[in-house]
């Protein structure tokens, strides 16, 4: 699963630690999601969508990176 988390975070000018604090996860978890090394659970994906005020589909997509 690929995601636009890094781009969205950069648009908000947030650090990984800022986003992690809002999501109540560790900075390493945000880093692992951004790098595609970890796919978040559905509750965390909803929380991410809520923080950015967009839908889950606008952040995550099932296709692999080319």
């Amino acid at each position: 699963m690929k995601n636009k988390l890094k781009v969205l975070r950069a648009e908000q000018n947030w650090t990984q630690a800022d986003l992690a604090s809002q999501l109540d996860v560790t900075r390493q978890t945000v880093n692992a999601i951004e790098k595609g090394k970890y796919d978040p659970s559905l509750p965390l994906a909803f929380k991410i969508a809520e923080v950015f005020k967009i839908s889950i589909e606008q952040i995550f997509s099932p296709e692999k990176e080319a």
Partner: protein, 140 residues
């Protein structure tokens, strides 16, 4: 948004449950030591005292397990998944090691096998598995 300062709720929660886990683990280790050495050194194998210490040891063990589950629940999901996968790996390694280690005296490659050594294998495997899995997922 400004950069977050100080510990987050998650970090405070993990620290809190880790402290309780340390406390209950210490209590269990102390009660295990008391059970191992107490009957010979302090109460001359008096049955009622030994039974009381066995009960205390079981209670301390149960509290330690409960504290471990609470600690696991206080982690974030990647940390929790890492620990659960490390436990699965540890279970497999322990099973393989126990079977082969138990067989070594029968095939006369060892004079005897000490079950305590299995605890070392469990501990070392778990620590290495947690470290390896965590580093592989979070390396920059």
């Amino acid at each position: 948004m400004s950069s977050s300062k100080g510990p987050t709720n998650l970090e405070r929660g993990i620290k809190n449950t880790a402290m309780k886990l340390f406390l209950f683990t210490s209590t269990w280790v102390a009660s295990t030591a008391l059970l191992s050495f107490g009957p010979r050194l302090w109460w001359n194998y008096e049955t009622s005292t030994t039974v009381f210490v066995v009960a205390a040891n079981l209670l301390a063990g149960a509290l330690m397990l409960l504290a471990f589950f609470r600690h696991l629940k206080s982690m974030d999901e990647l940390q929790r998944q890492t620990h659960l996968e490390a436990m699965a790996l540890t279970l497999g390694v322990t099973m393989i090691f126990t079977v082969i280690y138990g067989s070594l005296p029968k095939v006369q490659l060892l004079t005897e096998s000490n079950p305590t050594n299995i605890l070392f294998v469990i501990g070392i495997t778990y620590i290495l598995a947690v470290m390896g899995l965590w580093i592989s997922r979070t390396s920059e």
